[in-house]
Amino acid sequence: MKNEGVHISSYSSHGIVLTVLLALTTLSVMVTDWHLGAFSVSVALLIASIKVSTVITYFMHVKFESLFLKLLIAGVFVIYALVIIITFIDYFLR
């Protein structure tokens, strides 16, 4: 039947994940007060990426899904990143 072998996340694991996410959110707000100049975008995006990965891995249960799905999700982000990078070949080099 359907539920055989289906991993069930515990309530506490979800709670821990939320705590981590809230901590990262606090961090990202604090970081805006530090003067990082050009790096501020990168740091903000880095923290956001960690949060996103956490939500995907735990809340969206991908940690316990197939390798295929994991590769797929990574691949989709890679393709999107390439689109941005290639567009900037125009904008940065004009």
């Binding site: 069930i8 996340s9 939320l18 956001a48 949060k51 939500v55 989709v76 941005i84």
Partner: protein, 207 residues
């Protein structure tokens, strides 16, 4: 990959692995939909970084952070509701989805106050005030409205999905054996959260 049971399965229910894969692919399309807006944002932030900083000061970081907290907690509650239904705890699942829905409502309320506050200052696309701003600031607000607007639309759709789940859990059509609807709605809700996780620093936390 092994063959699904769908071949001989003529029941009303779609096999859960099949349904989940379908929802994931749909989420990819949503990522690319917002992705177009993020691309426009990237181009103009690179070009008008000063203006973006000035314009972002108009946004209320406290409300933005509060909204972030609402969505993060709501992601937890909807994820917990799946655990609850898997453990056959119908009442808890129902309660958790309800909490998720309430948090979504609070998010929307905040959004309403944010936008109406700006409208009071005539800061909306097409307004005279906006037209007289420096170009980068004008574009920032255009992006702000379009991105948070599209996001709010998706929050609204998510709220409808959550409401449907409340009804179905109540009726018992979403239960320990068949909870694809809840799981997929949860995935959709997490996507709404994911997009906000990127929107928040890009719009509210520009230094």
């Amino acid at each position: 990959m092994l063959m699904s049971t769908l071949q001989q399965n003529h029941s009303e229910h779609i096999d859960s692995e099949t349904g989940k894969l379908g929802m994931w692919i749909f989420l990819f399309t949503e990522l690319f939909l917002f992705g177009g807006l993020f691309l426009v944002y990237a181009v103009f932030r690179a070009k008008y970084s000063e203006d973006f900083h000035t314009a972002a000061d108009e946004l209320n970081t406290f409300i933005g952070t509060l909204n972030t907290v609402f969505l993060l907690v709501s992601s937890m509650t909807v994820a917990m509701s799946v655990t609850a239904i898997q453990k056959n705890n119908r009442k808890l699942a129902l309660f958790l989805v309800l909490v998720t829905l309430v948090l979504a409502g609070l998010f929307m309320m905040n959004k309403y106050f944010e936008w109406s506050h700006k409208f009071e200052y005539n800061l909306y696309p097409g307004s005279e005030v906006l037209k007289n701003l420096p170009r980068g600031e004008l574009l920032f607000f255009g992006l702000y409205y379009m991105m948070t607007g599209l996001h709010a639309l998706h929050v609204f759709i998510g709220m409808i999905l959550l409401s449907i789940n409340i009804v179905k859990i109540g009726k018992g059509t979403v239960n320990q054996q068949h909870y694809l609807m809840l799981e997929n709605s949860g995935l959709y809700w997490h996507l709404v959260d994911l997009i906000w996780i990127f929107l928040f620093p890009l719009l509210y936390l520009i230094t």
